[in-house]
Amino acid sequence: MPDWLDIGVVAVLNGLAIGLLLFVVAVGLSLVFGMLDVLNLAHGALFLTGAYLAWSLGGEHPTWVSWLGALAVAAVVGAVAGGGLSLLTEPLARRSHLEQALLTLGVALVVAELLSAVFGDDVRGVNPPPGLDGTVDVAGSAYPSYRLALIGLGAAAALAMHVVVERTPLGALVRASVADRDMVAAAGIDARLVRAGVFVAGSMLAATAGVLGSPIYNARPGLDTTILILALVVVVIGGLGSIRGAFAAALLIGQIESTGRALLSDLASFLLFGALAIVLAVRPRGLFVTANGGRS
């Protein structure tokens, strides 16, 4: 049945695009938790900030200049926000991790309200930069070229991250912190610098993901909660702190959302959390267990 196959190809391709976008969205959260044991519940709000930045700088008729500018500004804003989060959670570093997570939840509420005050409550549409706003013929169907670009970008980001984590001294520090934080401190590395650096990196990733995802998700109140929950699901399925796990889980979720919805349309609403429940029931620490997975 050629029709079914065509749909299948598009669905799988779309799953890949959404999955790679989800990876970019979730990897910052995974990093922060893996290295600091802090669940950064402000992650969704940072994503939304990036999305609103994409709208305010380019909006419906962006140019390449405004698009790249939005990415740069989002990176800066994310970095600043990360620094702020690091400062805010510093005094709580000795207390329970639940409290640090809840503090970030409070920050998320406040940031969402501020965004609503600045940008209003209307949905803001964002379009891809010129050249990427058309369609490409895939197996007889039209497919948006921006999503194909996302596949390339997401794959490049994953590769870059792999190289950095596996091959650079910075990456060695990351792996060491995820494996045994106390040892890293004992080796003389300043914990506060590591903390600040991780928050900055994670927040930058969240904000730039917001810019990249805005042509698909647009910018609206409530998007922060949606993205946070998606990122949480990806990160937990993948195994907290594991970037490889986040990658695998993101691709899995992307496929579930695309092909799953196409095949099992009646159960579509239950797919995401059903998958999460099944994975956690079978592998209670996620798919890729890290050393920290044992610690709760």
Partner: protein
């Protein structure tokens, strides 16, 4: 340090004299409230009681057993829907809807907890969230029974004998009575040897296992108990509001309950009740007049509490001059 290391508060299961006096005074004030509060204030107070019971049941899980749940509202909602369904389709005669609600909440918690309690920490947090989202989706999809996304509206008023309870004051006393029953159950569980075992699991599970206990069973029992009390609270919601919607099962309600527990002070039972009162106050009394900025105030209050009150409202120390020997 792990995610669930709460600041441990020494067991004060037995109430000392000041504790007993303030408890009695609180009950008397709550009972007398309709005589000096205007109707809307009484309605808000009744709603506070409902959410306070929810927060107390969550505290049994979070504060006493050390299981942070982000999906506790699911059992609250299951109880609410059950109470509403019984009142609409079987009989609104008190206390049947409420008893059915508690049983339903407990059963749902048994089904979910059987899976959830195997994990711990952040995984438990997310798994409870996932299970709650599934239950909420069920409520939205099962339109013939739950009314779908519009919710279950027009629930008949509870009947005490032949009297329908529509008067604000009578409703308040009815809810207060059952609230006290629920709180007593939670407190009794917490003060019993069962509660001590739960605290042991919270503080040092491997050690308890070494002593021969089976933590899984205790955790599951705590989960079911918390679910049953949450179900009772849900039944009270259906009685008071006569409307149940899928939002009552959702992430926002669970997060609100967790907020209340943290603000009030984990592990103390009465602290979360106060926390719930504060959250409901901000949302319902101040919210409608704040021009839509209720969530902002809540967020700021939350941040302030996490900084200034590390053990929540209940954990605030007595002034130094009266420090006693116990920590």
């Amino acid at each position: 340090m792990s995610l669930t290391t709460m600041v441990y508060r020494p067991t004060e299961a037995r109430l000392d004299w000041p504790g007993r006096l303030s408890a009695a005074a609180a009950v008397v004030t709550l009972a007398a409230a309709p005589f000096f509060l205007a109707p809307y204030a009484t309605t808000t107070l009744t709603r506070m009681l409902v959410y306070a019971l929810l927060a107390a049941s969550l505290d049994l899980l979070v504060g006493i057993t050390g299981l942070p749940s982000l999906g506790h509202a699911a059992y609250f909602g299951v109880g609410a829907y059950m109470a509403g369904w019984i009142a609409t389709n079987a009989t609104p005669a008190a206390p049947l809807p409420l008893l059915a609600a508690a049983v339903a909440g407990g059963l749902a918690a048994l089904a979910a907890g059987w899976v959830a309690v195997r994990s711990a920490g952040v995984f438990f947090l997310i798994l409870t969230l996932a299970l709650a989202e599934i239950i909420q989706q069920l409520a939205e999809s099962w339109q013939p029974v739950t009314g779908g996304s519009n919710g279950m509206y027009g629930i008949p008023a509870t009947r005490l004998g032949a009297e329908p309870l529509t008067h604000v004051a009578y409703l308040h006393w009815y809810v207060l009575g059952w609230f006290l029953v629920g709180i007593l159950v939670v407190w009794a569980l917490s003060a019993s040897p069962f509660g001590a075992t739960l605290r042991g699991i919270r503080d040092n599970e491997p050690r308890l296992r070494a002593l021969g206990y089976q933590p899984y069973r205790y955790k599951l029992a705590a989960f079911v108990a918390a679910g049953a009390v949450a179900g009772l609270a849900g039944g009270l919601l259906a009685t008071q509001q006569r409307l149940v919607t899928p939002t009552d099962l959702g992430f926002a309600t669970s997060a609100l309950a967790l907020l209340a527990v943290v603000i009030g002070g984990t592990g103390t039972i009465w602290g979360p009740c106060l926390g719930a009162a504060l959250v409901v106050l901000v949302r319902d009394s101040l919210g409608p007049s704040l021009g839509g900025h209720g969530p902002l105030v809540l967020g700021l209050v939350f941040i302030a509490v996490v900084y200034a009150l590390p053990r929540g409202v209940a954990g605030v120390r007595r002034p130094r001059s009266r420090r006693t020997a116990t920590r």
